[in-house]
Every structure is written in structure tokens, then in C-alpha cells.
């Protein structure tokens, strides 16, 4: 080995006094600390504003805002149960549709796809996340809803005889909980898939080889070594998708039908909290109406908070078993 000459140290840098360097560090520290404090402060301020605004409704209406289905602005009755129900059901439906699809895409991309195909498909899937929500809404109205009404719903109800169950019965209007679920699934899919793909590709080669060297087939390797290792990350991705679905407003408002009724049938129109707020905020003239909308917002806020907490807890649960 020949000796490598020591890299020349900039003389300017050397001449800086300790004092000057310390001031630079200090400024840097103050600026970044300020950035770090602004964000939580903003979250807390928003939360306070929402709950303060919602307080009159909560104190006047009590629990009925969550339990009642009667939303009558003129009579001053604000029961948001159908909207809460609609938010939860449409999001759950979205996850049921999107999760297997997204994980399938992620597994294909990380395990089976030839290298040249990986980039383009991954890019196209990621692109789903870049489409504006209102564009999904338009597509929903002009393409998805007619397709559901004329093809999918009759097929499910009559051909597959699922009409006998309450979930697929009733007339096929088109705008429906099913349409909202499908739209949300498409919107949540890129999030779940992108996160899952990253965590699957991050599974160490040693884990894959451990399974293969024991005589596992490719599929057994994926099932037993890759997916368990990536489980916590995949759950995180699903929760991210759920968060997206819960709060999505525009596209859902355009296809769900906006009827404040609780129905078991996915063919029936429904309502979500987000679309309720979006539809009514401009007409909310009375104080109580305004406050009731803010209360719905507060409930949505709490639900998303719970989802995030559950997600953290699940990820923690799963990764705890793996901690070395």
C-alpha cells in the first residue's frame, strides 16, 4: 500500500475561531428547533379550535349527535350516525378491496417482476396517488357508477345470487356505498402498495436464503420468511391507506349518493362525515348548525387519531417480537 497523502484541509476553515463556529451552530439549532415546534403547535391549535367550535353542539345535543340518524337542519336536530357509519363502512370496504390487490402488486414487484418491468409498474402504481381527487370523482360519475349500475350490481345480485343477502339487495341506483368503496380502494391502493413494496424489498437476503436453503419453494419463502419479516411495515402501509380513505372528501361526495340513511346494502346510497361537512358548510347559517358540523369534524379527527394510535400499537406489537 502506498501512502495516501492527507487531504488538504481548507485553511479558511482552520482560521475560523471557536466563537464563530459556535454562533453558526447556535443559529442552526434555533432555526431547526423553531421548525420542530411550529408543527405540533399547529396541530394543537387546530384541535383546540375545532373542539371549541364543536362544544356548543356537543353540550346541546349530547350523545345524540353520534347515535341519532335524524339530521334536520330546520328542526335543529343533528344526528350524524349515518355519516359516521358511512365513513367507517366505505373505508373498511376500500381496505377489503385494496389490501389484497396492493400486497399482490408489492409481492410481484419485489419478488417476481423482471428488473426492467419493476420501475415502470411501480411508477404507474405510484401515479395513482398523484391523480387529483376531483378527477377520480369525475371518473367515478361518468365511468364507474354507470358500470356498477349496468354490469356489476346486476351481476352480483342476480348472477351470483348475492341479492339474497342484505348486503347486495335492493335497486341498483349507481351512486352507492359500493361506488364509494371502490373509488376509495383505488385511492388507497398506491399508499399500501408503495409502503409494502419498500418493506418487502428491505427484507434481508439472509432471511430469504435461510428459507430457500432449507428447501422452501419460492412461494413458501415469501410466505414464511419474507412476509412475516415485513409484516409490521405492511400493517403500517394499510393504516396509511385507511387514513387516506377516512378523510377523503371530494371523490366520495361525488359518487356516494349523499343520503343520510343507514342501510345494510352496499347498493344503497350513503353519506360520509367528510361529504356531510363539504355539502353543508356553505349553508350553515345558524350557530348550532355550524357547531354541529364542527362536531362532526371533531369526531372524524378523533377517529383518525384512534386509527393512527392503533397502527402504532400494531407496528410496535409486531416489531417487538423481532427486536434483537
Amino acid at each position: 500500500m502506498t501512502a495516501v497523502p492527507a487531504p488538504a484541509v481548507s485553511t479558511d476553515r482552520r482560521r475560523l475561531t471557536v466563537h464563530e463556529t459556535a454562533i453558526g451552530d447556535r443559529i442552526y439549532e434555533i432555526v431547526t428547533t423553531a421548525c420542530a415546534l411550529v408543527v405540533p403547535a399547529l396541530v394543537i391549535a387546530i384541535a383546540i379550535a375545532i373542539f371549541a367550535g364543536a362544544w356548543p353542539a356537543f353540550s346541546k345535543l349530547g350523545l345524540s349527535i353520534v347515535t341519532s340518524s335524524d339530521w334536520d337542519v330546520r328542526a335543529g336536530r343533528f344526528g350524524a350516525a349515518p355519516a359516521i357509519f358511512g365513513t367507517l363502512v366505505s373505508s373498511a370496504l376500500a381496505l377489503i378491496i385494496a389490501t389484497p390487490l396492493a400486497i399482490g402488486v408489492a409481492i410481484f414487484l419485489s419478488e417476481f417482476s423482471p428488473t426492467w418491468l419493476r420501475q415502470p409498474i411501480g411508477f404507474l402504481v405510484d401515479l395513482l396517488a398523484a391523480v387529483p381527487s376531483v378527477v377520480y370523482g369525475l371518473w367515478g360519475i361518468f365511468v364507474l357508477v354507470p358500470l356498477l349500475r349496468e354490469q356489476v350490481m346486476p351481476f352480483l345480485r342476480d348472477r351470483l345470487h348475492l341479492g339474497a343477502t342484505p348486503f347486495f339487495s335492493g335497486p341498483a341506483y349507481g351512486p352507492s356505498m359500493l361506488a364509494a368503496g371502490v373509488i376509495l380502494a383505488i385511492m388507497a391502493l398506491p399508499y399500501i402498495s408503495a409502503v409494502s413494496r419498500e418493506v418487502l424489498m428491505a427484507v434481508p437476503r439472509s432471511q430469504r436464503e435461510a428459507a430457500l436453503a432449507l428447501g422452501a419453494t419460492r412461494w413458501e419463502m415469501i410466505r414464511d420468511a419474507v412476509i412475516p419479516y415485513a409484516k409490521s411495515g405492511i400493517i403500517g402501509g394499510i393504516m396509511l391507506g385507511l387514513g387516506r380513505a377516512l378523510g377523503e372528501t371530494m371523490a366520495v361526495t361525488m359518487v356516494i349518493g349523499n343520503r343520510a340513511e343507514i342501510s345494510a346494502s352496499l347498493f344503497a346510497p350513503g353519506y360520509t362525515m367528510a361529504s356531510l361537512i363539504a355539502n353543508q358548510f356553505s349553508e350553515a347559517t345558524s350557530d348550532l348548525h355550524q357547531s354541529a358540523l364542527l362536531a362532526v369534524g371533531a369526531i372524524l379527527f378523533v377517529i383518525t387519531l384512534i386509527v393512527n394510535a392503533v397502527a402504532r400499537w400494531l407496528v410496535w406489537q409486531v416489531s417487538r417480537d423481532r427486536a434483537v
Binding site: 435461510a210 430457500l212 436453503a213 432449507l214 428447501g215 412475516p228 427486536a323
Partner: protein, 267 residues
């Protein structure tokens, strides 16, 4: 021609196999880079063979050709013949899954699954179709005993394997490989990341196990090769420079390059 005949014969009774590995004019490429050049070697069954040589000389490639673990790497190519008990490892009709059950492997960095000790050891038999609890219990105990780990872990089989020390985790990996009852065990620098006492345990284990199976061990530690192996093969730049009984290689090497390497003049 014998290889074709062997392939068409019904699957032989594995328990009677010797675990003889033989390479003839075996060459191997990653893309354009040739990693192995015309390797011819008959690895003696039921003995320990050490593969030594500087980094990047093809030892691991050779090892990973025996259980075809390089198959997943794109752009690989090979020529020549590699056989296990007379059957060509690379022929089309070779069942790679069965091959890997017959040829176990332990890696440099221990890699237990994030599961319990029991589930780690039972994994091979499970995917092999053994699901009776009694047989699995039996296999797990026997394999852990063979890996000299049973006494240390018998009271906590259901706890995570990742809670064990490095040396214990490596022995879980050995037990996991043994649970498939392989004829050949490939060890890729199994002790290079372990402390001296764990290393000694692994070496003692290797000595015990060679009564029952063929062991090929890649090592950078020449003392380890000298202590633990019966035969030593010296690889250099993709070539097999010299192969012979370990004491001969270390005391009277025939090739100058071998001597230069074992006396520490390069590598």
C-alpha cells in the same frame, strides 16, 4: 451418460446416500465475470473439507453452487458438471427443493427466523410435509441435541430464537439445517463472527457431525481449517490450486501459491 441413467432411476433412499460431491471441469460466471474456472474435485464423503483462499476467490460461489442457491441471481451461467451421489445437480429434472433438503447450509451471519427456537428448527420438516406434533417434537429435540444446544434451550423452546446469544443463534441455524437430515452440510464461514469459545463449540460440533455427513466449510481462519478439517482445498482467483489431506496442505504444500498463502505472504 451415467448421469442420465441416475436421473431416470426412481429417487434413491436418501438415508443410504453417502453425500459425495463431485465437480468436473466446473466453471461459473456472474454476467461476464468468471468466478470459477474448470474446478475438478471429488469431495470425500463423511469427512470435513475446508475451502480456503483469499476473499473473492470463488470459495463461496463453489459452496453455493452445490445447493444451487445462486439460482436466483440474474445473469449466472455455468459449464461442466457438479454432482451429488452421481446425480447431476444442474440437470433439468433436478428437484431443487429436494436438493436443498439433502444439502443443508449454514451462513456466515446467523439468520434465524424471527420465530421461536422450536419453530425455527421445525421449519424444514414442516414444509417437507411432516405435521404430526410427536414427530416434530422428536425431530426438534434430536436436531438440537446434535447441534449441542438442547441442554441450554430445552426450557425455553417457545421463546424467540433472537433472544439467544450469537453463538447459540448460530447453533439454532445448524440444528435447523440438521432437522432436514441432510447428507451434506455446507458451512459458509460459520464462526467468523463469533467469539473464541463459541467458535470452539462450533468446531467440536463439526468434528462430531462428520461421522454422519459430509461437511464442507469455507473459512478465512487457517488455524480453523488446520484444526477442524480432514481435507483442504485452496482456491485462488477462481481456480482450485491444490486439494489434499489437511496435514499435507499445511506442512508440505505442493504448490508455491499454496505455501505463500498459508504462510501469510498474501491474502
Amino acid at each position: 451418460m451415467t448421469s442420465v441413467a441416475a436421473a431416470q432411476a426412481p429417487a434413491p433412499d436418501i438415508t443410504r446416500q453417502l453425500g459425495a460431491i463431485e465437480a468436473r471441469d466446473f466453471s461459473f460466471w456472474y454476467e461476464k465475470k468468471q468466478a470459477l474456472k474448470n474446478i475438478s474435485i471429488a469431495v470425500p464423503p463423511r469427512a470435513v473439507t475446508a475451502l480456503i483462499g483469499p476473499s473473492g476467490c470463488g470459495k463461496s460461489t463453489f459452496l453455493r453452487s452445490i445447493n444451487r442457491l445462486n439460482d436466483l441471481i440474474p445473469g449466472i451461467r455455468h459449464e461442466g458438471r457438479m454432482s451429488l451421489d452421481g446425480q447431476n445437480i444442474f440437470e433439468k429434472s433436478m428437484d431443487v427443493v429436494a436438493l436443498r433438503q439433502r444439502v443443508g447450509m449454514v451462513f456466515q451471519r446467523w439468520n434465524p427466523f424471527p420465530k421461536s427456537i422450536y419453530e425455527n428448527v421445525a421449519y424444514g420438516p414442516r414444509i417437507n410435509g411432516i405435521d404430526s406434533q410427536v414427530s416434530l417434537d422428536e425431530i426438534v429435540e434430536r436436531s438440537l441435541r446434535r447441534a449441542a444446544l438442547w441442554e441450554e434451550v430445552k426450557d425455553r423452546l417457545r421463546t424467540s430464537a433472537l433472544g439467544l446469544s450469537g453463538g447459540q443463534q448460530q447453533r439454532v441455524c445448524i440444528a435447523r439445517a440438521l432437522a432436514n437430515q441432510p447428507e451434506v452440510l455446507l458451512l459458509d464461514e460459520p464462526a467468523s463472527a463469533l467469539d473464541p469459545s463459541s467458535t470452539q463449540k462450533i468446531e467440536e460440533l463439526v468434528y462430531e457431525l462428520k461421522q454422519e455427513l459430509t461437511i464442507i466449510i469455507v473459512t478465512h481462519n487457517l488455524q480453523q481449517a488446520a484444526r477442524a478439517s480432514d481435507h483442504t482445498a485452496f482456491f485462488f482467483l477462481g481456480e482450485l490450486v491444490e486439494f489434499g489431506p489437511t496435514d499435507q496442505i499445511f506442512t508440505r504444500p505442493r504448490e508455491e501459491r499454496t505455501e505463500a498463502y498459508i504462510t501469510g505472504r498474501f491474502g
